[in-house]
């Protein structure tokens, strides 16, 4: 199974690096300019060196399920500060 994994990327017409660029919504040309040959080579080699691990990689995280959050209202104190307008502390 592991031996087959590196080719999974090729079957879909994209390398690990291309997948990362797509998942992170980056410009491929700009990214290419940021990498040395050595680093670029390492992106190509990773699926060959660590096929099982790379095949399990996920690039994007799902946000937390809103139904798992319930806000409580009755706190002993709520603290704010003029110099931290965007923040508040709720204390029990």
């Amino acid at each position: 199974l592991s031996f087959q994994q590196p080719f999974a990327f090729e079957e879909h017409g994209s390398s690990l690096l291309e997948k990362a660029i797509e998942a992170w919504k980056q410009d491929p040309k700009a990214v290419a300019g940021l990498m040395s040959d050595e680093v670029r080579k390492s992106w190509d080699e990773l699926p060959l060196k660590f096929p099982a691990e790379i095949s399990q990689m996920q690039f994007v995280t799902k946000p937390k399920d809103p139904s798992a959050i319930f806000t409580r209202k009755q706190w002993d104190a709520t603290v704010e500060s003029e110099d931290l307008e965007n923040y508040q502390l709720r204390v029990n």
Binding site: A20, W24, V31, L34, M35, S36, E38, V39, S42, W43, L46, K49, F50, E53, I54, Q58, F59, T61, K62, P63, K64, P66, A68, I69, F70, T71, R72, Q74, W75, D76, A77, V79, E80, S81, D83, L84, N86, Y87, Q88, L89, R90, V91, N92
Partner: protein, 422 residues
């Protein structure tokens, strides 16, 4: 009203507070739980404790290592006589968001620097609400372990970037236990630690050790590229390559990555860790502390992945340690010597070569025995000069207070009550 956290029977005789820091425009909510000093809260120092991961809850530190209670097999608290709140007020903060009882409507932060802004805001508001923990000139320290070796130097420099006159608290010192701080100088230590040169017998076959040695140059070259560019495109392949080449051979043996003497059992290699999850998921516990998420998890592996794919893992955050030392902030780097993943060899290596104003003098210092005050036993080895102290703790794994609780408490108290000398 939310019930009082004191009803839980965890140090019911001391004042304790729990709650949330809200970041309104980003819909982020950070959970904290504070225990006053058992001794003299009006004068004892305050310690902020941070677990690492990245993505692990600081409440695991509370219940597994250094808080006032652990959780037994019957999912009930057990009093800890060696709690770090014996002589200090201790704050446990679940950060970054979506860790432990903290949550966010968005995906949350993915790097150490962004996390630091929120921690500063938390401390400002905490000390505004509770000025009694700073009013008598009490010291304030940040302590933590593992990936907190990334967090703490950055959070501390974030604090120092705000003028003292605008802060509600002073930063006195930092303590980093079994941390990942300078990967370029720590990754070379995996092979010797796994192959019999770290004080314990080898756990890998000679050919696996050779394979680790063979891949090290490539790994260090990639980390060097990451250090130079700090670009995600350089830092991500460095993390993937090095972690697979240097850590995975050990992980595959089934040994506990946090303790070379043990096998990996259950969640996070310790079966007792499940008791904490079970306890914090009890409805009456969530009600008492005011938790706003329905499910507590010790570690969020999504956060771990986010930090990895933000390239945060291999970044040179040790530069922030140099900055702290150059601003005369005392730094204690301690390491339990049975840990593999952030082992004592690597921590010694990076502190030995860290550039700072007294680096040359530090390098010349002899390694001394450490006799812990509380046990009067030879408990480790120490090297120290001016603000920087490195301490090897005998018999400790990744989580020193779990393995050697009395010596760990002694270390803390010697540091925070003894003018930063060990």
């Amino acid at each position: 009203k939310i019930k009082d956290p004191k009803i839980l029977g965890i140090d019911g005789d001391v004042k304790q507070y729990s709650g949330y820091l809200d970041v309104r425009d980003e819909d982020k909510h950070f959970f904290f739980w504070t225990f006053e000093s058992r001794n003299d809260p009006e004068n004892d120092p305050v310690v902020l404790w941070l677990n690492g991961g990245p993505g692990c809850s600081s409440l695991t530190g509370l219940f597994f290592e250094l808080g006032p209670s652990s959780i037994g097999e019957d999912i009930k608290p057990i009093h800890n006589p060696y709690s770090w709140n014996n002589n200090a007020t201790v704050i446990f903060l679940d950060q970054p968001v979506n860790v432990g009882f903290s949550y966010s409507g968005s995906e949350g932060v993915t790097d150490t620097v962004a996390a630091g802004k929120d921690v500063y805001a938390f401390l400002q508001l905490f000390f505004k609400q509770f000025p009694e923990y700073a009013a008598n000139g009490q010291d304030f320290h940040i302590a933590g372990e593992s990936y907190a070796g990334h967090y703490i130097p950055v959070f501390a420099t974030e604090i120092l970037s705000h003028p003292v006159s605008k802060r509600n608290f002073n930063l006195t010192s930092v303590l980093i236990g079994n941390g990942l701080t300078d990967p370029l100088n720590q990754y070379p230590a995996y092979e010797p630690m796994a192959c019999g040169e770290g004080g314990e017998p080898a756990v890998l076959e000679p050919e696996e050790c050779q394979s680790m040695s063979d891949s090290l140059d490539r790994c260090l070259g990639l980390i060097q590229s990451c250090y130079e560019s700090e670009s995600v495109w350089s830092c991500v392949p460095a993390s993937i390559y090095c972690n697979n080449a240097q850590i995975n051979p050990y992980s595959r043996t089934g040994k506990n990555v946090y303790d070379i003497r043990k096998e990996c059992e259950g969640q996070l290699c310790y079966k007792d860790m499940q008791f904490i999850d079970d306890y914090l998921n009890l409805d009456y516990v969530k009600e008492a502390v005011g938790a706003e998420v329905d499910k507590y998890e010790s570690c969020n592996f999504d956060i771990n992945r986010n930090f990895l794919f933000a390239g945060d893992w291999m970044k040179p955050y040790h530069k922030a340690v140099s900055e702290l030392l150059n601003q005369d902030i005392p730094v204690l780097i301690y390491a339990g010597d049975k840990d593999f993943i952030c082992n004592w060899l690597g921590n010694k290596l990076w502190t030995d070569v860290l550039p700072w104003k007294s680096a040359d003098e530090f390098a010349k210092q002899p390694v001394r025995h450490w006799v812990a005050n509380l046990t009067n036993e030879k408990s480790g080895e120490v090297k120290s000069f001016e603000q920087l102290t490195y301490l090897r703790v005998y018999g400790g794994g990744h989580m020193v207070p779990y393995d050697v609780p009395e010596n760990a408490l002694s270390m803390l108290n010697e540091w925070i009550h003894g003018n930063f000398t060990i």
